[in-house]
Symmetry: C2
Subunit: 145 residues, 2 copies
C-alpha cells in the first residue's frame, strides 16, 4: 500500500474528501526529503499551483500526520519540521552541528538496549526519538586546518 492509497483510505474512513489542493500538497510532500517545514512545503506547493493558500498547507500537513504519512521531528527551535512516516523505516538521526548534514541510521544494539530500559521501568513502549550530535568528518577536517 503506497502513500496515495493510505491517504485515500484514511479519507474514506473519516468521511473526508480528496480535493485538488490536497492532492497537490501530497504530491509535493512526497517529492521532498525528510525534515520539511510547512514553509518549505508551501513553497513547493506554490510551484505546482500558485493558488493554494498557506493555511491549507498547514491544515493538510497536519492531516497527513494524523493519517500516518508524516511525523513531527524533534527540534530545539525554529519552525516545526516533518518527516515521512510511511514506508520509511524507523530510524534515528546523526546530525553535524556545523553543516547540518543529517545521517539516518538504525542500530540494533541501541534498539535492544532501549527495550531493556522499558522493561526495567515497567513501561509499555510506544516509540522513541534519538538524535546524536557531532562533527561530521568533513567539518572536523576543515576545523583542523
Amino acid at each position: 500500500m503506497d502513500e496515495q492509497q493510505v491517504l485515500e483510505r484514511y479519507l474514506r474512513e473519516h468521511d473526508l474528501k480528496m480535493t485538488k489542493a490536497r492532492q497537490t500538497i501530497l504530491d509535493a510532500f512526497l517529492s521532498m526529503e525528510s525534515h520539511v517545514t510547512a514553509e518549505h512545503l508551501y513553497e513547493a506547493v506554490r510551484q505546482l499551483d500558485p493558488g493554494i493558500g498557506q493555511a491549507t498547507v498547514f491544515r493538510n500537513i497536519r492531516l497527513f500526520t494524523d493519517a500516518g504519512l508524516a511525523r513531527e521531528a524533534c527540534r530545539d527551535d525554529g519552525p516545526r519540521q516533518y518527516e515521512h512516516a510511511w514506508r520509511h523505516a524507523h530510524h534515528d538521526h546523526l546530525s553535524c552541528i556545523q553543516c547540518d548534514r543529517v545521517i539516518e541510521f538504525v542500530d540494533g544494539p541501541i534498539e535492544a538496549a532501549q527495550k531493556a530500559v522499558y522493561e526495567r521501568y515497567g513501561f509499555q513502549p510506544s516509540g522513541h526519538r534519538m538524535e546524536l550530535f557531532g562533527l561530521c568528518p568533513d567539518c572536523a577536517a576543515k576545523q583542523r586546518s
Copy 2:
C-alpha cells in the same frame, strides 16, 4: 563550583552585571524542577518579585543557557522548555504518553552503543538527546480496567 559561582564567573568574563532581577530569576530557576518553560519561570519569579517583567525572564533564561546553567529540551510542540545543565549529569528521558510523567535515566549499554555509531560514521561526538515514549505502569493498569 555551584551555579551561583558559574554565573558570576560568566558575567565577569563577559563584562556583564549581576542585577537584582537576574539574581531573582536565577534563584527561581534553581528552585524548579527540570522542564521549565519561560512562562513557568515567569510565574515563579513574580512570586519573589512582582516587578520583574516577562522580557527580562526570557532574556535571562537565554543567558543562563549561554552560561551553561540551562539547556533547551527537545519538544514537539508548545513553548520552549529548559532543563538544568550544571551539576546535572547527562541523562535521557522516559516519558509516559498518558500522564506525562518523566523518568530520567542513564544507561551504560545505550551510551556505549551510541559511541559505536559515532565511530562507524566518523563523527566526533558532541552530545545527544534521547527520549523514549510509552505507557507507565500506572496508566497501563488503568487502561486495562
